[in-house]
């Protein structure tokens, strides 16, 4: 099941059949990295048996060196980026981000799509886009849902840098640790309950935008799928 043979330039990808790890190896996000993350998503969607995906590393955000300032920036590139983030957010696997250093702009945006968020001591989080004259993508939407519009205003409008202690207080990250504990992650996110966990993730994602009646209809549809799974029926027998 191991998959680390693919030629990637901007990241390192390894899938041991249980946990897939994507290590960001470029300090800034460029068109190439975006394309490679799309290829990783295709593998995770079509072939990978892993139940957990770990993104790790640090990122300084979009690399404008890739763009010709005279030609101006093309909005479709931004759309492509948002599509990638949504795709990661909707993967039928639990996603984890481990911040090993500073997450600026796009790197921070990527972390916000993940279910589990951890950081190494000293990591910082910052959205400098508005200070630079553009927008931090759908972080305006995601960040407000995590930490409330009040805090999101400060982080987005001022571009304040947030350390791990404040990030934990705001709920941006779950904990601060030297490294991820794979055994612990495995124990909490078992493949047997992958369908239930994927459905719960989807219902959580939709929680802010659905009326109660519609949400209840969605829950019942999802619940029927969950209780029809052999894994759930096996659990009942135990």
């Amino acid at each position: 099941m191991s998959r680390s043979d693919q030629a990637f330039e901007t990241l390192h990808y390894n899938d041991d059949g249980d946990i897939a790890t994507v290590r960001l190896e470029r300090s800034r996000i460029n068109v190439r990295q975006l394309g490679e993350l799309e290829r990783v998503c295709a593998h995770l969607e079509d072939e990978s048996k892993a139940s957990l995906v770990i993104f790790r590393g640090a990122s300084q955000g979009i690399d404008f060196a890739d763009f010709d300032p005279k030609a101006g920036l093309d909005i479709h590139g931004f759309n492509k980026w948002e599509k990638l983030l949504r795709r990661i957010e909707q993967l039928e696997k639990v996603t984890c981000f481990f911040a090993e250093g500073d997450l600026v702009g796009g790197g921070f945006q990527l972390m916000l799509t993940c279910d589990v968020r951890s950081a190494r001591a000293g990591a910082t989080f910052r959205l400098p886009e508005v200070q630079m004259g553009f927008l931090p993508g759908m972080a305006t939407w995601r960040l407000a849902r995590y930490i409330g519009v009040g805090h999101a205003r400060r982080l987005i409008l001022r571009g304040d840098s947030v350390g791990t202690e404040e990030a934990m207080r705001l709920g941006l990250i779950d904990d601060v640790r030297e490294d991820l504990d794979h055994a612990d992650l495995r124990a909490h996110y078992r493949p047997a309950t992958a369908v239930a966990s994927a459905l719960a993730r989807r219902l959580l994602l939709e929680s802010g935008e659905t009326q109660y009646e519609d949400a209840l209809g969605n829950l019942l549809a999802a619940q029927f799928r969950a209780i029809s799974q052999s894994a759930f029926l096996e659990n009942l027998k135990k």
Partner: protein
């Protein structure tokens, strides 16, 4: 040959002139049972087009089976021709240009069938071949499209016309039970006609879809879950919907879709447009959560349900029409059509715009 694949060249729809809100029906037929009232008012459906009977002395209409069958016939001969006209006028054709006619209905049995009645009423050529598909329910539009496209492929350049005509108000039974109230609150009247032709010279103008293939899925264990059968007590045919069937259909939906995608070497993410039968809120929710579709993917399914109710076999063609009018489809886009109905069954078709 890809370029001689059958294509959906035009679509036309029609409904009875009377458009009613759910609340209007409760008032008109003086429904007082709070459970039935809440079934109507809490529905995802807001309006429907119906051939409504006059209220009886106690409010509930008293139509005999004979009157219901007669309504099916004259109703079909109003909305059927309107849908055909709307379809053919878009491509500058008349009924004289049609070489093969397929009519689909479940809401009334009659012989000669709707094809013969439609040909007489509208003046089709006497040598137009025809087939009637009767009693297959909400999924029948794709069973019909499978045959229609096969005919078109075998007869390149010839025009095949498929017409779904459902007068659901001709299957209403008012007996104050939840069983019939569910049906009465859900189904609406409507007809949809689609022109199919396989011709390499059709590759011009706005994008229209090729029909690339079909995949079916029968759930024999749920054979009784949706049925239209005789009710001795009411002295009428009556439609029955099992309360679990939306979830069972949803749980089975990934199978035909997976087979259809695999047959064409595609993944789910390659599908840009989903044209799903507006069966009811629960079944659409179940399909969403089993196929991983978003509300955006099923926006037309929802809006057709809201505006027209469940139009049985023609519903998915109403959604298809909204998708085409929206103007977002691009050449090269793939779409999946999906209908569900008695059997219980799920029918799917893969289409691609070019």
């Amino acid at each position: 040959m890809f370029d001689a694949q059958p294509r959906l060249l035009a679509i036309g729809t029609a409904n009875p002139p009377e458009r009613v809100r759910q609340e209007d029906l409760l008032e008109r037929f003086r429904v007082e049972d709070p459970r039935i009232r809440s079934l109507f008012t809490s529905s995802h459906i807001k309006t429907r087009h119906l051939y409504l009977p006059e209220p009886g002395p106690n409010g509930a209409p008293q139509e005999s089976q004979g009157q219901l069958l007669a309504k099916h016939k004259w109703g079909a001969m109003q909305i059927g021709p309107e849908a055909v006209e709307a379809c053919l006028s878009q491509v500058g054709l008349t009924v004289r240009d049609i070489d093969h006619l397929v009519c689909i209905t479940t809401t009334g049995f009659l012989a000669p069938g709707l094809t013969a009645l439609l040909m007489k009423k509208m003046g089709f050529r006497e040598d137009c071949s025809r087939a009637d598909i009767v009693g297959m329910g909400c999924n029948a539009g794709l069973n019909g499209l499978n045959l229609t496209t096969a005919w078109a492929k075998a007869n390149p350049g010839k025009n095949a016309l498929m017409v779904c005509i459902e007068v659901c108000s001709a299957v209403y039974v008012f007996d104050n039970t939840m069983r019939t109230a569910i049906v009465n609150s859900l189904f609406g009247d409507g007809a949809a006609a689609v022109l199919v032709r396989a011709h390499p010279n059709d590759d011009q103008g706005a994008p229209v879809p090729h029909v690339l293939g079909f995949n079916s899925h029968l759930i024999p264990s749920a054979v009784d879950a949706m049925r239209y059968d005789w009710d001795d007590e009411a002295g009428k045919f009556s439609f029955f919907l099992d309360r679990d069937i939306p979830y069972v259909v949803g749980a089975n939906a990934p199978r035909p879709v997976a087979r259809l995608l695999a047959q064409h070497g595609l993944k789910k993410r390659h599908i840009a447009h989903w044209i799903v039968h507006s069966g009811g809120k629960k079944v659409v929710d179940a399909i969403k959560y089993n196929l991983g579709l978003t509300d955006y993917d099923v926006r037309h399914t929802h809006s057709i349900l809201r505006d027209y109710g469940n139009l049985s076999s023609g519903s998915f063609l109403f959604s298809y029409q909204r998708l085409m009018r929206e103007g977002k489809v691009r050449r090269g886009d793939f779409g999946i059509m999906m209908t569900m109905g008695p059997g219980s069954t799920i029918e799917t078709a893969l289409i691609r715009w070019s």
